[in-house]
């Protein structure tokens, strides 16, 4: 395992403390308007600026910093849109336009939540639609569309999103599928450089989601190992049964591989392989989360299927995040096309 530096441990732990036990906020949300109290604290502590250069008022953090922090934060199950905020700040900073600059300032101040919407295909939108995860949080949605010189990065206000139905997700959040009418929204930037910044943000979203997924896996697996040692059946702890031991070992190996790949992808950010690496990390972390979380539920038996235990919200968050910011299949399909 790549160990975090002492600085990264400090950062991570201070964020975890700020987030507290996110489970109740996650459960409470249920698709409705979120309570922003914790979010304001997060912004006041400066977190959305993690990846911004110090010159722009940020912390000058690296992708590895982000990965270490998000991996730890994920286990709190906090519903706040951290990944999106961290990844969107550099995009707004890169626009170099007045509207983007103003938006960034409001975002960093905790006044405006800016979330990116992502082109994605589903049975609800077979021709593709701009999916806005954590939609109830969004004051502004950022959408990139077009290619090369025709690329446009626009911001939609919440009023412009209202037509798209809000659909609840199993983690207590909700999503909308936005469409982009010609001329709609406020132009933030355009052209190839804007496209480049937009895709870099997509890479960060994927990497951040991947790190969070690995964090969810880590917590669920730790709970499972603990349960295996504690729960007795047939006169011994169930963790003494070899069939479960071997499966637990496989889960451990799967977790280690996914985490290694996420860390490796963070070391690729800024290089030629950034796009490929982040897509791989997202695909691998999603598949690992889907697989390991299922085994965690199974090993817990009925209690694992009960909502009164923390495994259920961990499971639902993992399923939600696995399909956000590029499903594993979409990420792999992209690789295949480029490779």
């Amino acid at each position: 395992m790549i160990a975090p530096t002492p600085e990264q441990v400090l950062m991570r732990d201070s964020l975890i403390q700020l987030l507290g036990d996110g489970v109740s906020r996650m459960r409470g949300a249920d698709g409705g308007p979120p309570d922003r109290a914790v979010w304001v604290d997060i912004c006041e502590a400066g977190w959305p600026g993690l990846l911004l250069p110090e010159a722009s008022g940020g912390w000058g953090g690296t992708a590895i910093d982000m990965v270490m922090v998000l991996e730890g934060a994920a286990a709190t199950l906090a519903p706040e849109p951290l990944i999106a905020a961290l990844a969107t700040a550099p995009l707004l900073a890169a626009c170099g336009t007045e509207p983007a600059h103003a938006l960034l300032a409001n975002m960093l101040a905790g006044q405006t939540v800016v979330l990116p919407a992502e082109m994605a295909i589903s049975p609800l939108a077979p021709d593709g639609g701009f999916v806005l995860f954590d939609a109830p949080w969004a004051d502004v949605a950022v959408i990139g569309a077009g290619q090369g010189d025709g690329f446009r990065l626009v911001a939609l206000s919440s009023a412009e999103m209202e037509d798209a139905p809000l659909r609840r997700t199993i983690d207590g959040g909700a999503q909308r599928i936005l469409s982009l009418a010609a001329g709609a929204g406020r132009l933030l930037a355009e052209g190839p450089k804007a496209a480049q910044a937009f895709y870099a943000t997509r890479d960060l979203l994927r990497l951040g989601a991947a790190a969070s997924l690995v964090g969810l896996v880590a917590r669920a697996f730790a709970l499972t190992v603990e349960y295996l040692g504690m729960r007795s059946q047939f006169g011994q702890p169930i963790g003494a049964f070899q069939a479960l031991q071997h499966r637990a070992a496989s889960m451990h190996v799967a977790h280690a591989a996914a985490w290694a790949l996420v860390c490796e992808a963070a070391l690729a950010v800024g290089g030629d392989k950034e796009r490929v690496a982040c897509a791989m990390a997202k695909a691998k972390a999603s598949a690992t989360a889907r697989g390991v979380l299922k085994d965690c539920v199974q090993m817990h038996g009925a209690i694992g299927f009960s909502d009164e235990y923390v495994l259920a919200p961990l499971f639902r968050r993992a399923v939600t995040l696995a399909s956000a910011f590029g499903t594993p299949e979409a990420c792999l399909a992209e690789l295949g096309c480029e490779g």
Partner: protein, 384 residues
């Protein structure tokens, strides 16, 4: 089902399809959760009147005595139209056990009530400390004259809060070895001393219940089989249960999800999506084929490999729903079904619900142990 159907089977399929189309209320179609009794019982009774509520029961007890093929036709057509899941504990579990072990009085009292939907049953086996290791159960039944006084705590009781009666295992003798001294008993849940607490599940529904017994006085006539002799019954019941858990009904419902998503995606499904659809179809076809080989009434001599069927059925359903999650793409985590071009598509609910399939009715780990032991006759070992 792939095999060539006889003319009678084809006619039966047409009849079932037409009847479902005509009779199944719109508000009961494409539900992902099992509807509550108030909503479902009308339909339950309609099926009962039609004679289709208990396909696998012998005719002597008011069932259809249906062949496996007819059973599969009913399941396929139910999945196709999106018919709801109904209470099954009476039909699939206590019903068959009373047919085998009940007194004529117990049969006369309870079987018709199951068939016509008057009584909903639940199962009182698991306790907080006794899951896979059922024989360690601690709920006590003290014999007092003509009554048995039950005190204890059952948990993970499916549909316990909707049920009228519970069939339960209680320890009536502390002196005997663990598997002896357990009694199988029928308990009216309206009796004083019983309290129930629903438990929400991973799928955000109240499927489970805790049931507390505080000196509940039950007539001794409600014992099934003999006092202290419940273990043999529960073993038989588990086999019975597993065969029905091995039916492809869940898998067919899951497959219907995948088919609807594939239809909604249209050409976007692409080569890899089509491969996934074909995989789902193939897995369900294999399960259906295996179920079709369960012995009919006429073939009493053949013991079905119930554990294998239970594993196959539950893991096939889960695999098909994994495929559904894949095809759902960004919509995979949507909480409620959505209507797409006139069809209702469920994205996550059945997927979440299906996690329980490999846990209940004897975990799939327990089933694998049973196969190793009983079917493969692998040696027993000294230590893990």
């Amino acid at each position: 089902m792939l095999r060539i159907e006889t003319e009678a089977e084809q006619a039966f399929r047409r009849e079932v399809r037409d009847w479902y189309e005509a009779e199944l209320p719109e508000d009961l179609r494409d539900l992902t959760f099992r509807p509550e009794p108030a909503q479902a019982l009308g339909w339950y009774r309609r099926l009962s009147q039609k004679g289709w509520i208990a396909p696998h029961w012998p005719k002597a007890f008011g069932g259809m005595g249906a062949s496996p093929v007819e059973q599969v036709i009913l399941m396929e057509e139910a999945a196709r139209i999106g018919a709801p899941e109904l209470p099954t504990q009476g039909l699939n579990q206590i019903g068959p056990i009373l047919q085998r072990f009940g007194t004529p009085e117990q049969q006369a009292r309870h079987l018709p009530a199951i068939l016509n939907g008057d009584v909903i049953w639940c199962q009182g086996y698991s306790e907080p400390g006794s899951g896979s290791d059922l024989a360690s159960l601690r709920t006590r039944g003290r014999v007092e004259g003509d009554e048995i006084v039950i005190t204890g705590h059952k948990i993970w009781t499916t549909w316990g809060h909707h049920a009228d009666w519970i069939y339960a295992l209680v320890r009536t003798n502390e002196e005997l070895p663990r598997r002896q001294g357990i009694t199988f008993i029928l308990v009216d849940l309206k009796l004083p001393g019983i309290t129930r607490r629903p438990i929400r599940t991973l799928a955000d529904e109240c499927e489970f219940c805790e049931v507390f017994f505080d000196a509940v006085r039950v007539p001794r006539a409600n014992v099934v089989g003999i006092l202290d002799g419940g273990w043999n019954i529960v073993t038989a019941l588990l086999d019975e249960e597993r065969i029905q858990l091995g039916a492809p009904s869940h898998a067919l419902r899951a497959l219907e999800r995948v088919r609807r998503m594939a239809r909604a995606l249209g050409p976007v499904l692409g080569a890899s999506g089509r491969l996934r659809l074909a995989e789902a179809e193939t897995e369900v076809a294999a399960l259906t084929a295996a179920f079709l080989q369960t012995p009919t009434e006429a073939e009493q001599g053949r013991t079905p490999d119930a554990s294998s069927l239970k594993i196959l059925s539950t893991e096939t359903t889960q695999r098909v729903l994994d495929i559904a999650q894949e095809l759902a793409g960004a919509a995979a985590p949507l909480k409620s079904p959505a209507s797409v071009g006139g069809t209702v598509i469920d994205f996550s609910e059945l997927f979440l619900q299906s996690r329980r399939l490999s846990i209940y009715g004897g975990t799939n780990e327990i089933q694998r142990g049973l196969i190793a032991d009983r079917v493969l006759k692998l040696p027993k070992g000294k230590r893990p």
